[in-house]
């Protein structure tokens, strides 16, 4: 099979891997080599589904010994199979990179023969790119569940990021839909995270110590294939951020790829739910929210009509309004309509002047939402005082629902 045909099969097979990030690694161009890592990351293109393309995202092979119900590459699926050679992937990466199509390579794989055998192939690709091709661009490798510690440690020495997909939010779901156990996934994840921590420590004492996955680790889970609620998912993510120090958790709306009766029959992928989960995730990583503030047992699902910060602010209306001139940065961040950039800009600009309605607008605050939660020098931004909650709510809704939500009823039966 020629390389063109292989890329067609293996590129398409990798499209359900979500991660695209190429940030967090500042790697100099090797002497006499090609490519470097830029810490801010660079997107090179945007595919027809609106997702960015930063890395050449492909599988090494789509041959797989596993039979996970949600996965296109499951053993029982009758599809064309292919596998790259190590050299083919290296050439492809270098040639795409040189034309500035990509920041680097994101290599994942089906499990061929055994976890270790597959992991070894991935590691070989990374090693060859770094040592023979003197490639300094971004490398993201997937750790194959069940692969040995030794191989994972080796892979991390060449890669910028190494990650394991958690796939499903609970072990119960994992056991239902796959032949993997929680340990298959959590052990490598723990291994990676402790290797990263040890490496950071080592480099404090010895600057020349080789770096282990300098861009950290991430994971991905499928949303909507199993009955977990959003509360369980945000709590899981919070735990992953805190315990394993992950850089990102990616959520992937379940796209039906088989008619297995263990899976729900969805007409369309739950994209809005995925979107709200990402918003909640951002609240935890950049806005200082805890999972418990975003959702609790009484509100197990995110509001589909408005973003999670707005929903939180409505539930906690007694904390508002806050004053634009004096509120600390952390408090400003909690106002609907104020993002990280506008909060930073408010903090800078208010030293020079009292910020009125138009100033805030100029700074980038979404006043439609924010006006209900702010005062300026003690004065409200709205004519009259005290709005009924119903009116505030109307300004916060970004996507009015036409009927009862589909997702809530899906697993009720």
């Amino acid at each position: 099979m020629d390389i063109e045909k292989k890329l067609q099969i293996l590129g398409a097979a990798a499209r359900y891997d979500v991660s695209c990030s190429s940030s967090g690694s500042k790697r100099p161009t090797p002497k006499g080599g090609t490519g470097n890592g830029v810490s801010c990351g660079i997107c090179h293109s945007w595919a027809d589904d609106g997702r960015c393309i930063s890395l050449l995202k492909t599988l090494f092979t789509n041959v797989c010994i596993h039979d996970c119900a949600y996965c296109v590459n499951r053993r029982s699926n009758d599809i064309p199979r292919a596998a790259f050679t190590v050299t083919e992937i290296c050439e492809l990466t270098m040639e795409f990179y040189r034309r500035n199509y990509i920041e680097g390579l994101f290599l994942s794989s089906g499990v061929m023969r055994s976890a270790d055998y597959t992991m070894e192939r991935l590691t070989l690709v990374a090693k060859k790119l770094r040592e023979e091709y003197r490639f300094g661009g971004y490398l993201h490798l997937k750790a194959i569940p069940g692969a040995s510690r030794e191989l994972i440690r080796q892979a991390g020495l060449h890669a910028d990021r190494i990650s394991v997909n958690i796939e499903l939010p609970t072990e119960k779901s994992l056991l239902l839909l796959t032949d993997k156990t929680k340990d298959d996934i959590m052990l490598p994840m723990g291994e990676i995270s402790s290797a990263i921590v040890e490496n950071r420590d080592e480099r404090k004492h010895l600057r020349s110590a080789p770096r282990f996955a300098p861009a950290g680790s991430s994971t991905q889970l499928i949303v909507g294939a199993t009955p977990e609620n959003d509360h369980q998912i945000v709590r899981l993510s919070e735990g992953l951020y805190n315990r394993f120090g992950l850089k990102r958790v990616y959520y992937s709306a379940f796209v039906p790829v088989s008619s297995d009766n263990r899976l729900p029959a969805l007409a369309t992928p739950p994209l809005l739910r995925e979107h709200r989960l990402y918003q909640a995730d951002w609240l935890m990583r950049y806005y200082g929210f805890t999972a418990g503030e975003i959702l609790d047992d009484r509100t197990p699902f995110l509001d589909e009509e408005m973003d999670p910060k707005s929903a939180w602010a409505l539930r906690n209306i007694h904390l508002f309004p806050i004053d634009t001139q004096t509120a600390p940065y952390e408090t400003l961040l909690r106002v609907p309509g104020i993002g990280v950039r506008s909060a930073q800009r408010i903090v800078i600009a208010r030293r020079h002047t009292r910020l009125g309605y138009d100033d805030l607008k100029k700074i980038g605050v979404v006043m439609k939402r924010a006006k209900h939660f702010l005062t300026v020098g003690g004065r409200t931004l709205l004519p009259g005082s005290g709005r009924p909650l119903r009116l505030i709510r109307r300004d916060l809704v970004t996507r009015a629902m036409l009927g009862p939500s589909l997702q809530l009823n899906l697993f009720a039966a």
């Binding site: 390389i3 063109e4 890329l7 067609q8 590129g11 398409a12 990798a14 499209r15 359900y16 161009t29 006499g32 080599g33 090609t34 490519g35 470097n36 830029v38 801010c40 660079i42 997107c43 090179h44 293109s45 945007w46 595919a47 027809d48 589904d49 609106g50 997702r51 960015c52 393309i53 930063s54 050449l56 995202k57 492809l92 040639e95 795409f96 040189r98 034309r99 500035n100 199509y101 920041e103 709306a253 796209v255 369309t268 992928p269 994209l271 800009r345 800078i348 600009a349 030293r351 020079h352 002047t353 910020l355 100033d359 100029k362 700074i363």
Partner: protein, 251 residues
């Protein structure tokens, strides 16, 4: 009557004009490049001679008294092709000279906000094009990237590519302005798009050279999208259609 300053359109030229205008007591009527100069009935025109040394000294003074971020905003606003950018820069500098270096944080002030907005536009486009510049392999081993940016971003993005591809010979062309930068594996040279570069531009976009990697990239670009999630609006928001003409995967 306040005067109109005419400079040669170069960056050192602008610095000399700014220096002269800031020394005078009056806000200039305008500062314009010679090629945009229109004789005014009421405003006398003061021609500015570009003096590199004077420009350098002026820049050093800005760094020292106003800070690096002011220089950055100045350079980026100059590289924009917004009409009236010179006067925006003049107002910005004279405001900061009066209020001190921290006045750059007066984000809503009329002398500051426009410069920040323009500088940001230039920065955004430069960042975008570090990702969306596409090299095509032409005769021999030369790599050519053709683009038509809104702002003059070549000098901002070229250093990124010299770090990234130090061992390749490449050229980036801004066809809208007929300007280009060529990397010979040692340093950057300014080139103009003229007879000697037309053959580079005439390399057929669909590549009669039959570059197999271009073909594979186009196919890959199609395959990587999840059909059930098609979202052209989102795609266009991040990758405006004005850039598509030179994108291997979109043309």
């Amino acid at each position: 009557m306040s005067a109109q300053y005419a400079y040669d359109g170069s960056f050192p030229g602008l610095l000399c004009a700014l220096c002269a205008a800031l020394t005078a007591q009056e806000r200039p009527f305008d500062i314009v490049a010679d090629r945009e100069l229109q004789p005014m009935l009421l405003a006398p025109t003061i021609p500015i001679t570009t003096d590199e040394d004077r420009a350098d000294r002026f820049m050093v003074r800005i760094d020292a008294t106003m800070g690096r971020h002011v220089r950055r905003n100045l350079v980026r606003t100059f590289l924009s092709d917004i009409p009236g950018r010179e006067l925006l820069i003049y107002d910005y500098l004279s405001f900061i000279r009066e209020k001190g270096p921290r006045a750059d944080g007066h984000l809503t002030h009329l002398a500051v906000a426009p410069v920040h907005a323009v500088a940001r536009q230039v920065t955004v486009e430069a960042h975008r094009l570090t990702g969306m510049a596409r090299f095509t392999r032409v005769a021999g081993e030369l790599l050519v990237a053709v683009m038509e940016p809104r702002h003059r971003v070549l000098p901002l993005i070229a250093p990124h590519f010299t770090r990234r591809f130090p061992a390749d010979r490449w050229v980036m062309l801004d066809v809208g302005r007929g300007a280009g930068l060529y990397w010979d594996m040692k340093e950057l040279h300014e080139v103009e798009t003229g007879p000697e570069t037309t053959h580079l531009l005439n390399t057929p976009p669909d590549s009669a050279t039959g570059d197999i990697y271009e073909k594979m990239w186009r196919q890959y670009f199609k395959d990587i999208a999840i059909p059930e999630r098609k979202n052209p609006r989102c795609q266009k928001r991040f990758m405006p259609t004005r850039y598509w003409k030179y994108l291997t995967e979109k043309r």
